[in-house]
Symmetry: C2
């Protein structure tokens, strides 16, 4: 009974604080939510909650504000993901359906997510390492220069120029192309290197040098840039924080410029069905200690190819944000599966 009400009070505090952005006091609490008790009673509960570290007061004689720990409890036990309205779903579907290629899908997604959540949205390109080779193309630019184009089953295209140690004929380019495709098509990108690197040994001696060059670049493409690209949108939403400027927003903007940091925000996501929420201090990166990150994996099938999510103040509408993130991830998955 007592425990139950305390949790109810915490939920009320989180909800009020999120919507008003002002510390919430005992009086306001009983007014807005019809708990059947007096302010004094609530005050006792609040004192207990503070004792346990779920809420805090910015200064004496101010209302209470949820702590990171408080939000955590709220997310884990007091809230459920809020589904989107049918109208919103329809809008998402229509917006994403208009995309013409992978680039377009990703860019549309990130903008959509930013608009939907009014926060900073981050979308990772379907990662090379988890997708498979659909086709390898070799194009002779000059007799000693090839363009290697790698196409994955997620529609991603990587290209590299290969400088050759010797001239090659159109025929041997075609031969090379066939060989490369034979040993990589359909393979996961993580597996591909072992097959590719064995290639030069099987070739006639006069082709080895050329093959080596091509294989070298191919391996480089497969390994080096396995998961680099991230797109973001909605940074203007950062200004909606009621927060003080340089101390808070500056480091966040700086963090968002670091590809590495962004990747790590989403990188740990592997499961397409569970939504990950990292709140305030739970974030690794120091500049993001005052923000929360809601992310989820997405992909064509059941397994996640990459992550997407949003970043906002810890004072965030978690149920709504989680709903939007989940919905967008699903629709993107559908689009990718269809394409």
């Amino acid at each position: 009974m007592l425990e139950d009400r305390k949790l109810e009070v915490l939920r009320a505090i989180v909800e009020d604080y999120v919507s008003t952005n002002e510390p919430v006091g005992s009086k306001a609490l009983v007014d807005r939510h019809n708990l059947g008790v007096s302010p004094a009673t609530i005050r006792n509960d609040m004192a207990a909650l503070e004792e346990e570290g779920y809420i805090a007061q910015p200064h004496t004689s101010a209302g209470r504000v949820p702590t990171d720990k408080g939000y955590r409890l709220f997310v884990d036990r007091l809230s459920s993901v809020k589904p989107l309205s049918p109208a919103e779903r329809r809008a998402i579907q229509q917006f994403l359906a208009g995309a013409v290629d992978l680039d377009d899908v990703v860019h549309r997604t990130v903008r959509l997510l930013a608009q939907l959540t009014h926060q900073v949205a981050v979308v990772q390109y379907p990662s090379l390492s988890r997708s498979a080779v659909r086709h390898v193309e070799l194009v002779a630019l000059t007799p000693t220069r090839l363009l290697l184009v790698l196409i994955t089953d997620t529609g991603r295209v990587e290209q590299r120029v290969v400088e050759l140690p010797a001239r090659v004929s159109e025929d041997s380019v075609a031969d090379l192309r066939t060989k490369l495709n034979a040993c990589t098509a359909g393979r996961r990108l993580v597996e591909a290197p072992q097959y590719v690197s064995a290639l030069p040994d099987t070739a006639p001696p006069d082709q080895r040098a050329v093959l080596h060059a091509v294989v070298g670049v191919m391996l480089e493409t497969l390994l080096e840039r396995t998961e680099d690209r991230v797109v973001l949108a909605g940074t203007a939403n950062l200004t909606r924080f009621g927060m003080d400027f340089p101390r808070t927003i500056r480091p966040v903007l700086e963090a968002l410029e670091e590809q590495v940091v962004l990747m790590r925000l989403l990188g740990e996501v592997t499961d397409a069905s569970t939504i990950s929420v990292r709140i305030g201090e739970e974030n690794q990166y120091e500049g993001l200690r005052s923000t929360s990150v809601v992310s989820v994996g997405y992909g064509a099938g059941g397994e996640a190819l990459a992550g997407l999510g949003v970043l906002g103040p810890t004072r965030m509408d978690y149920p709504g944000t989680m709903g939007a993130v989940r919905a967008v991830a699903r629709y993107v998955g559908q689009i990718l599966a269809g394409a």
Copy 2:
């Protein structure tokens, strides 16, 4: 004589204000620059400059601040582009030389520019419309689906999926590929459509439908997305404005999210040798009225393929910024010419 000194005073005001970010008064002026006259004399000059609209005072009994018109005069007549130090040049060259492909060049460039100028940097991808077709590749994904890959002489690669109305054999794909290349290779992208669109008429009737589909997508690729991609970096530098938060930075961040606005910032650039400076109110877009944009064209040869530049407060180190922008544009041009 009098005119000369007035201009000197204006220059001094701009320089002091840029470096201190505080309205500059007559006393401080004679102290810091050794003009051989008394503060009272300067005051007269300042009154005249204010009368003519080159400077203004934020409020009575404060020092003077340059107006947009003042900065304009400063840029046009009182300053010269400041060349970079040899060390900086070396750093630029080394940093850019490490790039592996066009994407990498662009991303490195934008980060470099942001770091060099401590401002928001914007770099446009070499525009499709001004570059030429190097190669067209067709890849059969399934019997009724082709991947069209368009490679330009600037290293840019565009790809599209083509859904075919009928099954095609490998042979006819090869045939198609040859035809497409024959009629487009080496042509400017702006010229290409007229050659491509004539293609279906010359083909045997049984190929027409397929050819139509391919040509349709090809034209779409050539026309629709002629100049879309822009990359930016250094938004965190916006926080270095001493400015008040929501009123100033918010609209700027919003503007920077609009691809269209960004494109227009650089879009007018056509000449690779002259640096364009747009100051405050000179900007078309309303949200950027408190900022200045320094931009220049860049390209492999003499002619500009695209633009790059930086955006910052009107209170900006124009000579230094112009120097950095110009230098970076040159080196990028070299890299592109070499690749």
